[in-house]
C-alpha cells in the first residue's frame, strides 16, 4: 500500500524544513509498525521565496507551479500526481506546521480498515489544542455554508488534514481554485456518494500559522466563489 502525503506550500521558507523533518520522523515510525510505503510531495504553489529549494534538500518530491494558483489548484496537482504514481491513499496536510504528524495514523486508519473513502481531521471535535474564538466562528460559518450548499454536515469544513482512498482520488474533481476548495470537496463527496468519516486532530496554532491561514472574512469569500461555481 502506498500513501502519498501532499503538502501545498506558498512562501513557507520559514517553517517548511521543520515541518518536513517532523513529518519524516513520524513516517519512519509508521513504516516500522506497518507495511505502508509513504512518499511526500510538496506542491510549491508559485512561491517567491526559497520554499522549493529548501523542500528539495529533504529529498522528497517537489512540484513547482509557475504561478500561484491557490489551495484548490495545488491540491488538485497533488491528487493528480498521486494518481500518476498509482498511490492507494493521498493525505493532505498544511505546510505551516499547524498539523501534528502524529495524527497521520488516526486519519488513515478508517480508510485502511475500509470504514471510509474520505477522512477529515477535525479541529472542532478535538479535545487537545484550543482554537481561537474568532477562528471557531469562521469555521462554524463555513460549516453552515457547506451544509446549505451541499447538504453535508461536517464539524470542520475548512480542515486541511484529510485522507482519500483510491476511489475518492479517482472521483473527486475540484473546480475551485482557492480556499473554497475545502468546501467543494464535500460537494464531491456527496455527488459521488463517498463514505465520509471525521476524526479528532490536534491543532498547533502559532502566530505564524494564524497569519498564513485563512482570514476571518474567508467564509464570505467562500460563499461568493461557491455561488459562482454553481452558476457556471
Amino acid at each position: 500500500m502506498t500513501l502519498l502525503i501532499v503538502l501545498p506550500a506558498f512562501n513557507e521558507e520559514k517553517v517548511i524544513e521543520n515541518v518536513l523533518v517532523g513529518l519524516k520522523k513520524e513516517i519512519k515510525k509508521i513504516k516500522k509498525e506497518s507495511k505502508i510505503k509513504i512518499k511526500i510531495v510538496v506542491v510549491n504553489d508559485g512561491s517567491t521565496d526559497k520554499t522549493s529549494k529548501i523542500a528539495k534538500r529533504q529529498k522528497i518530491y517537489v512540484l513547482n507551479h509557475l504561478l500561484n494558483r491557490g489551495l484548490g489548484g495545488a491540491l488538485s496537482t497533488g491528487f493528480r500526481f498521486a494518481k500518476k504514481m498509482n498511490a492507494d491513499l493521498a493525505l493532505t496536510m498544511d505546510s505551516d506546521g499547524q498539523h501534528d504528524p502524529r495524527d497521520i495514523k488516526k486519519v488513515i486508519k478508517p480508510i485502511i480498515t475500509n470504514q471510509a473513502d474520505v477522512v477529515i481531521g477535525s479541529r472542532m471535535i478535538s479535545k487537545k489544542g484550543k482554537i481561537p474564538p474568532d477562528r471557531k466562528i469562521m469555521i462554524t460559518a463555513s460549516n453552515i455554508i457547506t451544509f446549505l450548499f451541499f447538504g453535508v454536515k461536517t464539524s470542520d469544513s475548512q480542515s486541511g488534514f484529510r485522507c482519500l482512498n483510491k476511489k475518492a482520488l479517482t472521483l473527486i474533481n475540484l473546480q475551485t481554485q482557492r480556499m473554497e476548495a475545502s468546501s467543494e470537496i464535500f460537494s464531491e463527496i456527496k455527488k459521488h456518494k463517498l463514505i465520509l468519516k471525521e476524526v479528532p486532530i490536534n491543532v498547533i496554532y502559532t502566530e505564524y500559522s494564524r497569519k498564513k491561514g485563512q482570514s476571518n472574512l474567508n467564509s464570505l469569500q467562500i460563499l461568493l466563489k461557491l455561488l459562482l461555481k454553481l452558476a457556471r
Binding site: Y61, L66, L67, R69, T77, R80, F81, Q175, Q177, L228
Partner: protein, 117 residues
C-alpha cells in the same frame, strides 16, 4: 426631418456607430463568435430605434405598466449590466481554471523530465 434631430440623438447615434464598428472589427478578427456578433448588433439596432423613436419605448413602458419610456430603458439596462458582470465573472473563473490546468501540466512534466535526465 433633420431639424427634429436633437443633439443627444446625434451623440448617442455616434456612440452606437462606434460600438457597432468595434463589434464588427472584433468579429472580423475572430475574437467574438457569430452568435455574439448577432447579439450585439441586434442590441445596438434596438438602441438606435429607441434613440430615434422614443415614442416606441413609451409604448413599451405603457404595456409593461412603467411610467416613462426612458425608465424602461434604464431598468432593462441595469438588469442587462448585472447579467453582463455576472457572465464576465464566470468567464474569468473559467479562465483561471484553464490557466491552473496548464500550470499543473507544466509542473508534472517538469518533474518527469528532471527524473529522466
Amino acid at each position: 426631418m433633420i431639424s427634429f434631430i436633437l443633439p443627444i440623438q446625434i451623440i448617442l447615434s455616434l456612440f452606437i456607430f462606434f460600438a457597432v464598428s468595434r463589434v464588427f472589427l472584433r468579429f472580423r478578427e475572430g475574437s467574438i463568435s457569430a452568435h455574439s456578433f448577432l447579439f450585439w448588433v441586434l442590441l445596438f439596432v434596438l438602441a438606435t430605434v429607441g434613440v430615434f423613436n422614443p415614442k416606441l419605448t413609451t409604448e413599451v413602458a405603457k404595456f409593461l405598466g412603467i411610467g416613462r419610456g426612458s425608465d424602461v430603458v434604464i431598468y432593462f439596462s441595469i438588469i442587462f449590466l448585472f447579467y453582463l458582470i455576472f457572465r464576465t465573472n464566470v468567464l474569468i473563473e473559467n479562465l483561471h481554471h484553464e490557466i491552473t490546468k496548464i500550470i499543473r501540466e507544466i509542473a508534472i512534466k517538469d518533474h518527469e523530465n528532471k527524473k529522466k535526465s
